[in-house]
């Protein structure tokens, strides 16, 4: 339980002359829910993109399960056990909810292209298995009745859930959630936090999440790191973060000169 699953070591990320992240380090232990918070533009999503291999950091490295994964292609990072959701929901719009989840099983479905074309036995075996597993995941999210609906026909809250379910389908050990509660009403948020706790327990997940809703963060996270202009200004328990002077200044502005 105590070993660090993910270690961000001294990451610096520059876009042209802009330093988006400045020598940031933190580590997430197995089984934790870790929060990454900070004002808009603080570099939170950039960190996600570095972890998932979409960006190559200017300096530093990402260590996952005692292996350096910086420079690994995004689709390989998923296979190593890191799945993500996006800040703005990015479902496969023309596909059904079930098909969206099935994409998550892509690398766990072992039949070749020719086996699919000639409909050989392995095709049927694997399709049957992943369909059953996908329905089990939908059940976990209370989405079973929407399985055959088009993904974009669902409500905003349910689309969020489908996106998380799709990420869970890749069988990750670390789940990255980018503003999961954004745009949700308090009831939907409460429902979501219950589900996140539930999937964390049932699928044995470690979760790193970005969020603005401090109530949600306070309720969910074991530890938080607060970023401002790419620098870490606080690390510790969420309850301490909301009374920290630097954090308040970053969010609300500096009142000392007023």
């Amino acid at each position: 339980m105590s070993s660090a699953l993910l270690k961000i070591h001294n990451i610096t990320m520059q876009f042209g002359g802009v330093t988006a992240i400045d020598s940031l380090s933190f580590s997430v232990k197995e089984g934790e829910i870790y929060g990454l918070i900070g004002p808009n533009g603080a570099g939170k999503t950039t960190i996600f993109n570095i972890i998932t291999g979409n960006y190559q950091p200017t300096e530093g490295n990402v260590n996952f399960e005692n292996e350096i994964i910086t420079g690994t292609k995004p689709n390989i990072v998923v296979q190593k056990g890191i799945a993500r959701t996006f800040q703005n929901i990015r479902l496969f719009k023309s596909m059904s909810v079930l098909d969206n989840i099935l994409i998550g099983f892509h690398n766990q479905t072992h039949y070749t292209y020719l086996e699919a074309i000639f409909r050989l036995p392995r095709y049927f075996g694997h399709e049957k298995r992943i369909r059953a597993e996908a329905m089990a995941i939908l059940d976990e999210f209370n989405l079973t009745k929407y399985a055959n609906h088009k993904a974009t026909d669902l409500s905003y809250g349910n689309q969020r859930k489908v996106e998380i379910a799709r990420a869970v389908a890749t069988k990750p050990s670390l789940l990255l959630l980018d503003e999961p509660a954004a745009g949700m009403n308090p009831i939907e948020t409460a429902d979501l936090s219950n589900i996140i706790h539930k999937i964390k327990r049932d699928f044995n997940l470690t979760i790193l999440l970005i969020e603005h809703d401090m109530k949600f963060v306070n309720h969910m996270c074991d530890l938080v790191t607060v970023l401002d202009y790419g620098e870490k200004i606080f690390e510790g328990k969420p309850a301490d973060a909301i009374v920290d002077e630097k954090v308040i200044t970053a969010y609300l502005g500096d009142f000392t000169h007023a």
Binding site: T52, K93, I103, N107
Partner: protein, 337 residues
């Protein structure tokens, strides 16, 4: 099990229909449906890369040309070749290439698929509009190559006296095979991945899909059947010249798949039939007509005007094509749930 029985029955019925039509239609009607069948094969395969995988590419004329020339060279008898190559002597390898029709078709398909494999590395480095331009260039290159290598393709004079093996039994059976393969791909993890990368490529990558590999599969499969379709076309027309494989061919296929619905194979079949018949049956518009007692002169080309207007009207009412991106069977499923 139930679906397997339905599938077998449908195939048997289609085969019976093909043989029935082959034995009972006039040669004019037969050549018309052979033409439709060949374009259905080409459009079905084009729809895989363009509609299902959503990679807007404009290269099928190139692959059709490769398949047509390969097949033609394989099935033209050796002494005919010696007479035909007028500009220069044929390259020795051209004379050695001899095979029966099915092998020749397969060779055409495999040659196209191989070229597609070679192309995929440079082509899929770009997305969207850029992809269209790069693939468009490839179509031009193939045609110019055919023009300027007389020892292989007989240059601008093209190849003629190609044996006419492509009857409706061949074409119809290959339509069925192509359709089955496409449907099997669509309802598999590969088809789902193709649709996913069409909807949102970055999200597909974030789900662990190797999108480059999936695009290459779609591209190669598409090229394979375009090559085979090209081979059938060569044998059906018995004459091929580089000028047949211009961008207009691609454009014609594009009309079929857009009308049928990008991503819908059943839609493509229907559109191929509608357009094929439409162009033939509207021929009376080109000649003199009597409209409300007034005699009009013949206006050659009027057929295309009316046809285009009909197409425009259809697209106004069915903006995503006749079938959208659904297969025929999915319309029935939707009603049940």
């Amino acid at each position: 099990m139930k679906s397997l029985i339905i599938k077998v029955l449908l195939i048997a019925a289609s085969l019976w229909l093909i043989w029935f039509l082959h034995n009972n239609l006039s040669s004019y009607r037969l050549s018309m449906i052979i033409n439709i069948g060949i374009f259905a094969i080409l459009a079905l395969s084009y729809n895989l890369i363009n509609g299902v995988a959503g990679q807007f590419s404009l290269e099928p004329n190139g692959f059709v040309a490769i398949g047509a020339y390969m097949t033609a060279i394989f099935i033209i008898p050796m002494d005919t070749k010696l007479d035909m190559y007028a500009l220069t002597d044929p390259a020795p390898i051209i004379l050695q290439m001899q095979a029966n029709f099915p092998i020749a078709l397969l060779a055409g398909g495999l040659a196209s698929a191989f070229i597609a494999f070679m192309l995929s590395v440079p082509v899929f480095r770009v997305r969207g509009d850029y992809l269209a331009i790069v693939t468009l260039g490839f179509g031009f290159i193939i045609r110019i190559f055919a023009m300027n290598s007389p020892s292989y393709t007989n240059g601008a004079m093209g190849l003629n006296d190609i044996p006419d093996f492509a009857d409706f039994r061949w074409v119809g059976s290959i339509v069925i095979i192509t359709f089955m393969v496409m449907i099997h791909i669509i309802y598999s993890k590969y088809g789902r991945a193709m649709k996913a990368l069409r909807d949102d490529e970055d999200a597909a990558i974030a789900m662990g899909v190797n999108t480059f590999k999936i695009k290459t599969f779609a591209f190669m499969t598409s090229a394979f059947f375009e090559g085979i379709g090209g081979g059938l076309l060569a044998s059906f027309l018995t004459t091929i010249t580089p000028d047949q494989f211009t961008f207009l061919l691609t454009f014609y296929l594009l009309i079929i798949i857009v009308l049928g619905g990008l991503g819908s194979m059943t839609g493509t079949l229907v559109a191929a039939i509608v357009i094929g018949f439409g162009l033939e049956e509207l021929r009376f518009l080109d000649s003199e007509m009597v409209i409300f007692g007034f005699e009009t002169d013949a206006h050659p080309g009027m057929r295309m005007v009316i046809f285009s207007v009909l197409l425009i009207i259809t697209m106004l009412f069915a903006r995503r094509g006749l079938f959208g991106d659904k297969e025929l069977s999915e319309f029935f499923k939707r009603k049940q749930s």
